[in-house]
């Protein structure tokens, strides 16, 4: 157990390290920096700019900058935001929480819908339910994320059913605790719906394929012969046997949802990492951009790590493989 866990953890850490190096390299290759715009301003003396560059260590060679950035990450700062004049980590944390709220909800909801639909579809392979579900997923698949999100927004605006931006209403301070939760849920409805609908088709199709393959296995025929009820058979045995590809898909789906959430947050003005990162890119606030990318990598690595642990717990084959001999 420990060995498997440590190996997966090392894998995750290496991934994060690799991404940070890569992000830094890109940043170093980039022409221009935050202070370049000021050069055009006649009221700012060139000496001031030089002083600023020295103060923010932009004049030092890349390896040194990387080392001091890693140091600041270890101290919980993740570099310095030029635009906000503050360490990056606290700024990002506030937004990351909102992004996480959105992505975790959407991930859970999407899987909660995809699993039964996929299993049902696999069980009735080629029959009416399967065909209806296949057509449904194909339809969703050809609608681009952007069109889907904007379409939902247009619908919401025209029907006045849902709030169309932000995370809380103006009067949320005066609401009761239950009212606050209801208010938040109403604001989350649209972005979560957009995320779920855009990730659903792929999940349903993979669940269907994985379960359909397992359903042909002899042990399930034997189980059926023993008189085990159909639902138990499907969800207790078939789904478990199909868990391996599905759990790697789980890790992948987190990545896809993070990407999707980035766009949908901007479209629906959800105060998460998306709008913040966009603003940072437009302002050339590189440490914020690097921090945002790093955060997403951490989410992803954490998601994959959780999936690995879950698989280890679920699948005896993995346990047997990694047991010390």
């Amino acid at each position: 157990m420990m060995r498997y866990l440590l190996r997966r953890l090392a894998h995750a850490l290496l991934l994060i390290l690799g991404v940070s190096v890569l992000a830094f390299l890109f940043a170093a290759l980039a022409p221009g920096n935050y202070f370049d715009e000021m050069r055009l301003n006649p009221q700012i003396a060139p000496e001031t700019l030089t002083a600023l560059r020295v103060q923010y260590e932009l004049d030092r060679p890349l390896p040194l900058r990387y080392a001091s950035w890693v140091n600041s990450v270890l101290h919980g700062q993740m570099g310095f935001s030029f635009a906000y004049n503050s360490p990056v980590a606290p700024l990002l944390l506030v937004r990351a929480k909102n992004t996480l709220l959105l992505t975790v909800t959407a991930t859970l909801l999407a899987w909660a819908i995809a699993l039964p639909l996929g299993v049902w579809s696999a069980e009735r392979l080629g029959l009416l339910p399967d065909r209806v579900i296949s057509w449904g997923t194909a339809t969703l698949l050809v609608i681009p994320d952007l069109a889907l999100a904007l379409g939902l927004l247009v619908l919401a605006v025209r029907t006045h059913r849902f709030p169309t931006g932000g995370m809380v209403s103006l009067d949320s301070q005066s609401l009761s605790a239950a009212g606050k939760i209801r208010d938040l849920a109403a604001h989350m409805a649209l972005p979560v719906a957009a995320l779920v609908l855009s990730s659903l088709p792929l999940l349903v199709r993979h669940v269907r394929a994985a379960v359909a393959e397992v359903l042909q296995a002899p042990f399930l025929l034997a189980a059926e012969g023993h008189g085990i009820p159909r639902l138990t058979l499907l969800f207790r045995y078939a789904l478990l046997a199909a868990a391996n590809p599905l759990l790697s898909l789980f890790g992948f789906s987190i990545g896809a949802l993070l990407s999707g959430s980035l766009l949908i947050e901007v479209v629906m003005s959800w105060p998460g990492l998306g709008p913040f990162l966009l603003e940072a890119i437009l302002a050339r606030d590189i440490y914020v951009v690097i921090g945002g990318v790093l955060f997403s990598t951490i989410f992803l690595a954490a998601g994959n790590f959780l999936a690995d642990m879950f698989l280890y717990w679920l699948d005896p084959r993995i346990r047997a493989e990694s047991a010390p001999r």
Partner: protein, 351 residues
């Protein structure tokens, strides 16, 4: 036989769709940047065949829109002023697919202007902008996919054929690129490139950014094929006869990768068009006044547009038939490349 027909049908559909966009100048009634400041946010004009007295006309016509008195963006149809559509008329000069100078348009309405998809804030014809925007978006997708495949192909071939440390380094790098959420990657790469540039530079910048993001998956696929191909008996025999590395790759190994590249292209192109749309939508891509499917939609970021002018949403749907076509093409190609896997594929894989 059915398989081949399926492929042909999807190719035909895609060909027709692309032909419309390539000949945007002919199908669009106006120049995409021509402004009509007196008619901002005009809703789509409806094509009629029946007039107010219920008489049938064979030539479709529209009614002229009049500003509702006391308003600046509310229009009403004026039933006393029908304007028949004329086909194959001479109009604004354009260059067919960027080269051939021409004046012929599919339709027009004489001296009056006709807006079948409405107008935007500057009174520019949305239909024309949609068609010309397709040229930008689709070309970005095609070029981006082409470059990605080229990069992935070279890297995959080098990693698979030469193996050793090259393989290790390249594949670890590929894993990094695969692990990151693609939109974050796109953002990160875009963040470190210049922001305000002219449309042409912006276009090539986007193509480069998109191409840099996606090379890892094709590289891994190509590497796998090269790995198995270089151990084939006839390849070993050729090596035994003294064939050079370059000859082996060119003559025996790389041709085996073509069908995978083709399938990857069909999968990547729509995604890359979408990537261009996303960047331009966020204001990181092709800037105004040049239309692209992304920046046509960026108007919708204003709440007032979202509330009042629903036709500004229509460009979002333009991508749907293209997605459908490429999806069908990809699955037809997959079936053709791998006929023995149809059994499993019909269980539903990616596309």
């Amino acid at each position: 036989m059915i398989r081949r027909r399926k492929l042909a049908i999807w190719l035909l559909v895609l060909g027709a769709l692309h032909a419309i966009v390539i000949c945007a100048g002919f199908f669009a009634p106006y120049d995409p940047v021509e402004q009509d400041r007196k008619n901002p946010y005009m809703p789509p004009m409806r094509l009629h065949l029946l007039d107010t007295q219920k008489h049938l006309h064979l030539r479709p016509f529209v009614y002229v829109f009049q500003l509702r008195p006391g308003s600046f963006d509310q229009y009403v149809e004026d039933p006393t002023q029908p304007r028949p559509l004329h086909f194959f008329v001479a109009g604004a000069p354009y260059r067919l697919s960027g080269f051939l100078p021409a004046r012929l348009h599919l339709f027009g309405a004489g001296n009056d202007r006709i807006y079948l998809l409405g107008t935007d804030a500057f009174g520019r014809d949305q239909l024309s902008r949609l068609l010309f925007g397709g040229q930008v978006s689709l070309l970005a997708g095609l070029l981006g996919a082409g470059f990605t495949l080229l990069i992935g192909w070279c890297i995959g071939a080098v990693a698979g054929y030469f193996g050793g440390w090259r393989d290790d380094v390249l594949m670890r790098l590929a894993e990094l690129f695969l692990a990151l959420p693609w939109l974050y990657l796109l953002f990160a790469i875009r963040a470190f490139l210049p922001l305000s540039v002219n449309p042409l530079h912006a276009f090539f910048l986007i193509v480069a950014v998109i191409a840099a993001v996606g090379w890892a998956r094709p590289a891994r696929l190509v590497r796998g094929i090269v790995l198995s191909a270089k151990e084939r008996d006839f390849v070993r025999a050729a090596r035994g006869f003294g064939a050079s590395n370059f000859y082996l790759l060119r003559r025996h190994i790389l041709p085996e990768t073509f069908s995978v590249l083709l399938t990857q292209a069909a999968i990547l192109i729509p995604h890359y068009v979408l990537a261009e749309m996303t960047l331009s939508f966020l204001g990181l891509g092709v800037p105004e006044p040049v239309p692209s499917w992304g920046n046509l939609l960026s108007n919708l970021q204003q709440y007032s547009v979202l509330v009042s002018y629903w036709w500004m949403y229509l460009p979002a749907l333009a991508m749907v038939p293209f997605f459908l076509g490429y999806l069908g093409l990809a699955s037809a190609l997959q079936e053709r490349a791998d006929p023995y896997k149809i059994e499993r594929r019909s269980l539903g894989s990616l596309a």
